[in-house]
Symmetry: C2
């Protein structure tokens, strides 16, 4: 991971392509550097100027004669290569390349971008961009960007793949009262990418929340590692766009990025502990909440209101969000009953009634926050004749100070009447909404994060004895040499056996006598199927016989199947007949694998059988580093889990055997990148074990 | 339905309980009536005052000596009965009872409320409330409420079961720039309820959108009829709270309302064409959109942006909302390609780039709106150095005026910089959001409504020949006389047969010989089951035999079953043994019915078999007035539908037979309110027909 110390805290900044002309990007950057109050030295570089904005201007980076930590490059694209070269020679440590006209404009730009990146790497210079707005840090402070807005100081790090959105958000943040520790416009991510900045922000003492807008990730594996580690320290909240098919098209036409499928991103975010925002509104609501409020200890929410209707709406939203309504202790209920008017609702939600003044709010606030069964609180205020929104706000702030460990949110439902109260709360760090639902959404995100944070940073990896890699390697080699990409059932069975995946025995026989001998060896009854990857519907051509109970039946079936297939499909090559031991019926499951370009193999688990695609009862996990805990969670997400726990009086299935089998499949597909796709359908789960019945493996 | 002409347009208003004292509700109402500019006569009534707020005060309603269209009552609860009586005698046409202390405070209040309602009915007076904030109409204008805020004139009718929320929203509406035609605080709905006001608003020329916040409906059937008719004319948007279990508890403890299950509401809203808002934000976003924008002709959305990222986010949201990205005509694409800079994105979303001035926006706006494949448009603006948000706003308004039939929405992503543009758009009726997602949500709601509006007001009801009500009536009577609530399988079969529901024959035999004869008559193979509603798991006690192929087997099975059951459950009464013809296996479905206190019978349809509760592939419709179109839609919502259309090469099922069966079940449970619950599981669907296998009916 890049060390970004000198990037964010440069002792000196050069602006290559600095300009005297207002409105030019090269002028805006110089002005921004000056006006932000940057404490280091600023060197405008332009061979045609002597002085810019009161600063001495240098003809070239090498002429500065002092070490430069960061150079902001705003020259035409064609000049960037030479400039980077000069910067490298002059010992510049970091580049911010503002210039556009690279990957995003097509092939030629991509070539230019690769050359630029190569030069940076050869000089060990870090590079942000190209094609970006730049970078700002409010604590240094430094403003190496052409943004018209410099944000308020705060504790949110914002990393954006869209420069325009970054600027829009900074503009909006001033009105919304949000503050940032630093903001980064990623641009084309030719060198530094979101993972570098997430890792840096995780270690940055000024940053409490890491916020990202991305359209793709640069490197899946790196991202996963960084996001997992960062999430254990601070919330990492990401809005990832390009989720839809049409969205992905827009993404690739826009940034030239290869957008992975959304399923892989969804899985990667969940598995690494990233909080995924669904909308821009949610992204910033979460950011502000985490910036100013503590993470709740649990999911029990209390609601305090001066009107019934909004209380009900809030309660509904809490239930919909799978949070819990706090159940107050007897002490709390008694205190509320004895001190509030008799018409008040004293259970959660607490309704202090429309005529509640500050004192009644204060009393209820304190009692509710004192209650140990309350993890977070939503305070609702509707304007009535006696409502004093400003002093209620002060009371809420006071109550929160007494319990700084419990997050508090407000919904002030009204307009001008409540404005001063809303401002007081916002300034005091209590997010205040117009309607209650967003407050509950934010709590849901925070509760989710409280669980992420509680996870161990490193989890024990699963280890598997009895894995024989070599025979599998050889088998794949041989299949490919034969010009095939699909394994025969008996071959896939061999692969599974070598990875300790319990599978119903299957062998390939080439003569009736061989078949009979093999069947006797594995034990009756057996199934026989014609072995030919070209035949998709084996039953339709008489290529399958089930329930064979003796050597004689097996011999007869061998002849029959061969005749049938030859009659229906005279031109198809038959590898022989596969004999498989029939297994007792268990719960039908599927374990599968599909490969994502960005994140590698994805493991699927769910209800198996012929209705897999109809029922869609499947959950996913990335195979890489899959832990026992994640596999158990993966199983628990499915309806299959209900069956496996013992549905309608059945015995529960052997979960350990299933977890083990999924773990081994994950290991297999991680060990062999040449496995393009894999399906085990069905897997039979039993009270004492599990067994793979039908395995399909395609290699590439 | 109540005629509310004199209610909303009273020629004279009396305030009974008028007060001189500022801060008193009786004073606020008089002031509100005066200050709103009410053109009719105002009569304060209070025996202790001569004059209030400059108006002559009357000692009693009867002393006014002139006819009073509307009396607002703000006397203590104990006095309301006498006041209502006086009002009735004086010929008052409508009451608005502000006073609280009725149903919401318990049993005593309920008695009082019933008496009040009785008096109103006896004088044919309409009554709003009790326990409400009142009513306002901005077009008359009249303000018969104690609300501190009088809203702007507009075309949204707002009906709220929560008075506090009504006031909060009015307060907020002034800031948000919303206008209302009239607003109603429903209170306890002792007489006038949401259905009365929806029906009235549907016919009100000043109202374009009907907005409701409700916690329950007063009368299900009335609501359905009114909502269905109103929805064909104007959008009816409802936020219904108390959806969750905890929410429902809060609802009943608050208003004493008996909240129906959310499923019934969800179904009732959908079936009547109501647009259900999920959050308060959505409720008002939709209201504003419908108030000012036309309903789109279709679901094809165009996006115009000056920045890539937000364009992608908008595209994602469109896909997630099951809307379509418009595909431009060749003419549009060519014009955009030839006139926009080469780096622009000319397909949807159109990206006019960060340096776009007003002219470029104008050109793209016109071309996109001219395109016949565009039904609605979202315009995005991010602040850049050259962005002119105000003039872009003017251009958007102009473009919209050229195509008033296409709804246009804006997202101005930023703060202060964009404020003037945002204001211009809002004032011009174009909803302008900070982030793009809510704009797309609103379009989704509007597209949904365009489909509702296109439905015929009256749909053909299904008619069923060969229905014999009388035998079913008698059967239920007999079962109840026997002290049972659960029908035997053979009885349920009889019920189905009498309603023309195709069912596999089942009869009850009491001797082995009778059983053998019956089996011979229906044809082999048959199934035999012990007939006893007390035995839940018949298989476990040896009470079931399947695949019986001859009279001898039947006789033997009869004896075996009887012995088995007597051994296991010696004390249980056995009605005999039921013989059922075995049917060939078809697609396993369920058709069921559960009864809602508010909306009556709900029909369920979906995948049947033993995994019904696990798979949860079930859709619902209200039985009342169920049409062929609704049944087809109900089937189409399920995964079962995929099977029925012919999955994996199977023959498609006989949809007509299924629709007919569902229609007959709906008719049966509508005809017989005494059927409490009914389950047909499984129903077998075949390519040529459908057959009910196992019918359970419980009566009450």
């Amino acid at each position: 991971m890049a060390d970004l110390k000198t990037f964010f805290h440069p002792r000196s900044v050069a602006i290559v392509g600095a300009s005297k002309k207002p409105g030019k990007i090269g002028n805006a950057i110089v002005k921004n550097m000056i006006s932000c109050g940057y404490p280091g030295r600023i060197y405008p570089v332009n061979p045609r100027e002597e002085e810019i904005e009161g600063l001495r201007c240098y003809p070239g980076i090498t002429e500065i004669g002092e070490s430069v930590d960061l150079a902001v490059v705003a020259v035409p694209a064609g000049r960037t290569i030479a400039v980077a070269q000069e910067c490298g020679l002059a010992g510049v440590k970091n580049l911010v390349v503002i210039t556009a006209g690279f990957k995003e404009v097509g092939r030629e730009g991509l070539v230019l971008e690769k050359e630029l990146t190569r030069i940076c790497k050869s000089f060990k210079m870090s590079m942000l961009g190209p094609n970006c707005v730049g970078m700002m840090d409010t604590h240094v402070p430094v403003n190496a960007s052409f943004s018209a807005v410099f944000p308020n100081r705060g504790n949110i790090a914002f990393i954006s793949q869209s420069g325009a959105m970054l600027v829009a958000i900074l503009d909006w943040s001033l009105t919304a009262g949000m503050g940032f520790s630093h903001v980064v416009s990623l641009g084309n991510k030719a060198d530094l990418n979101e993972a570098d900045f997430i890792a840096n922000a995780a270690g940055d003492p000024h940053t409490k929340v890491i916020l990202c807008y991305i359209e793709d990730v640069a490197r899946g594996k790196q991202f996963l590692e960084v996001a997992r580690a960062a999430s254990r320290k601070k919330p990492v909240i990401i809005l990832k766009s390009g989720t839809s098919q049409a969205g992905a098209q827009a993404a690739s036409s826009h940034t030239g990025a290869l957008a992975g499928s959304d399923l892989a991103y969804e899985t990667a975010f969940r598995q690494s502990g990233v909080i995924r925002a669904r909308t821009m509104g949610e992204l910033f609501d979460l950011a502000v909440a985490f910036a100013h409020q503590p993470v709740p200890a649990g999911n029990r929410v209390a609601v305090l209101t001066n009107a019934g209707g909004p209380g009900i709406i809030t309660t509904d939203q809490i239930e919909k969000s799978h949070l819990a309504m706090a159940r107050f202790s007897k002490e709390t209920s008694t205190a509320l009953r004895e001190n509030l008017p008799p018409e008040s609702a004293i259970y959660n939600p607490v309704d202090v009634l429309g005529d509640a003044g500050v004192d009644r709010y204060r009393f209820a606030l304190e009692k509710v926050l004192d209650d140990r069964s309350v993890d977070s609180l939503v305070v609702l205020v509707c304007p009535t004749a006696v409502t004093d929104p400003e002093n209620i706000a002060r009371t809420v702030l006071e109550a929160h100070h007494r319990h700084p460990e419990k997050p508090v949110f407000a919904a002030y439902m009204g307009g001008k009447t409540l404005e001063s109260g809303t401002k007081l709360l916002t300034a005091g760090g209590i997010p205040c909404f117009t309607f209650p639902e967003p407050a509950v959404n934010v709590i849901r995100g925070m509760v989710h994060y409280s669980r992420v944070r509680a996870l161990p940073e490193k989890e024990e990896e699963m280890t598997f004895p009895e894995i024989n890699r070599q025979p599998v390697e050889e088998l794949f080699h041989r299949v490919r040499e034969e010009g095939r990409l699909t394994l025969l059932g008996s071959e896939a069975t061999r692969v599974a056996e070598n990875y300790g995946i319990k599978v119903s025995p299957m062998v390939l026989a080439t003569t009736p006598a061989e078949a009979a001998g093999m069947a006797r060896e594995m034990g009756f009854p057996v199934v026989m199927k014609v072995a030919s990857p070209k035949i998709l519907h084996k039953t339709d051509v008489g290529g399958v016989k089930i329930g064979l109970n003796s050597p004689e039946e097996v011999k007869e079936a061998f002849i029959h199947i061969t005749e049938n297939v030859q009659r229906y499909l005279p031109d198809v090559v038959i590898h022989g007949i596969e004999i498989q031991k029939m297994m007792p019926k268990g719960t039908e499951l599927i374990i599968g694998m599909t490969r994502d370009v960005q994140f590698g193999p994805l493991i699927a688990f769910g209800l198996g059988g012929i209705y897999v695609n109809l029922l869609k009862d499947v959950s996913f996990r990335l195979a890489d580093g899959l832990t026992r805990r994640e596999i158990a969670a993966m199983i628990a997400e499915t309806k299959a889990h209900t069956l496996l726990r013992g549905y309608r009086g059945e015995k529960p299935a052997d979960m350990d055997a299933l977890i083990n089998m999924i773990g081994r499949v994950a290991r297999l597909v991680t060990d062999f990148p040449q496995i393009a796709e894999m399906d085990i359908n069905p897997v039979f789960a039993y009270p004492d074990g599990a067994c793979a019945l039908d395995i399909k493996i395609t290699i590439s």
